[in-house]
Amino acid sequence: MQRTGKLESDYFHKVVDCQWACPAHTPVPEYIRLIADGRYGDAYLVNWKSNVFPGVLGRTCDRPCEPACRRGRVEDEPVAICRLKRVAADNKGEVVSRMPEPATARNGKRVALVGAGPASLTVARDLAMLGYDLVLYDAEAKAGGFIRSQIPRFRLPEEVIDEEVGYVTRLGGIELRLGQRVDSLKALVAEGYDAVFVGSGAPRGRDLDLPGRQEAAANIHIGIDWLANVSFGHVDRIGRRVIVLGGGNTAMDCCRTSRRLGGEDVKVIVRSGFEEMKASPWEKEDALHEDIPILNYRVPKAFTHENGRLTGVLFEVVAAEYDARGRRRLVPSGEPDEHYECDDVLVAVGQENAFPWIEDDIGLEFDDWHMPKVDPITFQSTLPNVFFGGDAAFGPKNIIWAVAHGHEAAVSIHKFCHGEDVAERPRPGVTLVSQKMGIHEWSYDNDISNDMRHRVPMREKAEALRDVRLEVELGFDRELALREAQRCLNCDVQTVFTDKLCIECDACVDICPMDCITFTDDGEEGDLRDRLKAPAQNLTQDLYVSGRLATGRVMAKDEDVCLHCGLCAERCPTGAWDMQKFFLEMTHAGPQCLTR
């Protein structure tokens, strides 16, 4: 095998599983160490730079980092990364003075941003610092988009949104045109902007066209619209018996909100099996905790009604059948249909993009699914000066994806406005620095905690259900945060091997608690994986392989379950192993992303 672990490659980035999995590539272990150190403000700023909304994301992120976390492979559960982020936000103290000052000089470029959600706000933050003049349009009275309209207040208090939107708007050069819906892209482009960014989300909730839908319309609500109405105070009650149709995170928000608005008998009824539901496991868990049963394998057939009033929903009971390729099909189970009575139904069966305001004749191409054709790297549409991001680009995803799109689109817009090729992307900034402080002393805490994942303290249920605006999670206090932070394995502190220093004494092999390291004859990767001290069966994790050593063998390390405890480096007599911190920062819009 070729020697692996070149700094120019993605090798070390992939070892930091959380950062690799994060769409915005937030340096997770770095900020977790800062939290453990009590440096909450520093931890917040590391996040803010990377993901713009640490307080919001610390409560609502879909956490792609957590399933990726190495801790989840060496014991039961990953580090509670998301909720640690909230700890940084809760305890940060004064940070504004440490944020960039509003740009003093204008660069003369004007950019229009459609929709004031996380994607547009990210573009705005990145470009405002560079002196762009930005015009931000949104139909609602306040900026925030989906963050403000659909995430229930009991999960995300409004102050947090105001604060973090404020950190963007204070950067200057941003003109907010709130309460103004853009209804013609053609007209907007004609205003002569240097670029237009569309971050208008996926604003249309899918409906269920079943018998009885029209007749019982008064008590059948589209989930995301209903949530927005609750958020803006237009709705403050619901019937005693509520059925929520759908199995995604919106369904979970709907049912939990219902419980707080007078719903006593609230059920979620879903077509798929419980395990395959789109909702995140922890959101399902929270719903179950609030006494909301989730009934699966039931397909709605009709809304039942009497005298123009909804009486319930009729379901067909189905079973899952898998074909040879493992694809699931729902087939009738043969059991009799079931009828559930209710006073209100919330339909949360998905969201769609809607672009009625984009004209057919302006040269912006759409694909077969009525989505604009958008380059997945540059976020440029077929109109070179129009860029897309967030849910508007590739359909409903999560806030962190919108942020990642925003950063990339900002890079593209900056390059586009300076006459550069947007396809030429800037490399991230990387450093690799030894953490050795002395003999067996490292600049990070290499003692591995045996703690299991700590639960986030919650408000007492009866109290939480009384007020839809009362935050239900209390967040980790500092002491719990420290203990949870100590569970982090510091995967960014890499085991770096220098071939020519190795005397093949086996000390690292003997001390490694996870049997990661093997000295063996070279071979092809597949063969090598089988011959290691512990066979490397997780193919998603790379092998760290040295060049030929003095005995003709190679060192092969399976990254899969390495604890980054540094014992290999502590027991190495020659310093062939060293613990070096890999720090990767994405290159955002700015001078570094330009080639000239």
Binding site: I503, C505, A507, I511, M514, L567, P573
Partner: protein, 351 residues
């Protein structure tokens, strides 16, 4: 020295043996020896061997003397009996323990200073009495703990780290053990676990005095040019005469060598030593041939390793002096105080 404890977490697929233990359960505390010490590799090999032999840790007694090597029993088999004895006196303490409780498995761990200098007499006599034990000398040819003086096993003509030449003849522990009547003699190298682990397994399973001389480089004081116990020197001059597989009665037997190249030796406990010959002429069943071969190769500067001699029908000290089968701590009052009639019988036998 490492200040943190070795993490308790282990590989999720770490195998367990029939006792339900993983290899990690045979570990001890974290080593306080210098980083890269050969002794730590020997400890790891002992851990692996005990795991593979499925030994109940509480049935093993590990004894040592004084020195770097004699510290190592703290770093393996944390749940076994341990006795860190006086300098050079481990063999007699081990002999006494063995006589008192013959049911334990005895592992003596010593170094070249402990066994070839202050304890040379003790070493010789424990071997010639045929005490049922495995005696491992972790041989680095240097006094590491006192900063690098030559030891009694340093080869004549080898150089210290400061460049001083050794003028005294080195003691060859393997030849000595053969001459003293050891019934299992091997030599290995801390940097070659594939060879060392089966040797330790076979030695532990051997009934009688088993001895392994394990060359173990001292990275701090004896791993330089001019040393004959450095990683590089040993790798360049290592001449392995055979490769050993130990097949316990529980293991499925599979043969992966051509017939004629393999010698099979059955030991008392039913374990089979499957010896793959690397040198066709070498016969591990002849003490005299072994001694001659060793000396011839030594004269050429080669270090002969492998299972050098084994007598599968060996007996031990208990057999030769006819001791009682039951460990002394399990004898009751009736056996220990047999009464006047028994005393009379003994006295009559002496008249």
């Amino acid at each position: 020295m490492t200040y943190i404890l070795k993490p308790q977490l282990h590989h999720p697929k770490l195998p367990t043996n029939s006792l339900g233990y993983t290899r990690r359960d045979y570990e001890g505390s974290v080593s306080t020896l210098c980083a890269g010490c050969g002794h730590d590799s020997i400890s790891a090999a002992i851990i692996q061997a005990c795991f593979e032999l499925e030994l109940p840790p509480h049935r093993v007694a590990k004894l040592s003397g004084i020195g770097c090597s004699s510290k190592t029993p703290d770093y393996f088999l944390g749940n076994s009996h341990g006795f860190n004895t006086v300098h050079g006196r481990m063999p007699s303490v081990l002999t006494g323990a063995n006589l008192a409780n013959r049911d334990l498995i005895y592992l003596g761990v010593s170094g070249d200073g402990d066994s070839a200098s202050i304890g040379l007499g003790q070493f010789a006599h424990a071997i010639r009495r045929g005490v049922n034990m495995l005696y491992i000398v972790e041989n680095n040819g240097v006094y590491g703990l006192t900063k690098g003086q030559f030891s009694a096993t340093s080869d004549k003509g080898s150089k210290s780290k400061k460049g001083v030449v050794n003028h005294d003849a080195g003691i060859d522990m393997v030849s000595l053990a053969l001459q003293m009547g050891a019934t299992f003699v091997g030599r290995s190298f801390s940097g070659d676990k594939a060879q060392l682990v089966p040797l330790i397994k076979a030695g532990l399973a051997h009934k009688g005095a088993a001895f392994i001389d394990c060359v173990s480089p001292c990275v701090q004081f004896n791993n330089h040019n001019g040393s004959t116990k450095s990683y590089d020197y040993v790798r360049e001059h290592n001449e392995a005469v055979n490769r050993l597989d130990v097949i316990t009665p529980r293991d499925p037997i599979h043969v992966d060598y051509k017939p004629g190249e393999t010698v099979r030796v059955q030991q008392h406990d039913g374990s089979i030593l499957s010896l793959h010959k690397l040198n066709e002429l070498y016969n591990p069943n002849s003490r005299a041939q072994a001694l001659g071969y060793l000396q011839a190769r030594q004269a050429r500067g080669q270090i002969v390793t492998g299972l050098l001699y084994v007598d599968p029908d060996a007996g031990d000290l208990h057999e030769s002096i006819g001791t009682v089968d039951t460990p002394l701590n399990q004898l009751g009052e009736a056996e220990l105080v047999p009464g006047q009639a028994a005393l009379d019988r003994i006295n009559a036998g002496l008249r």
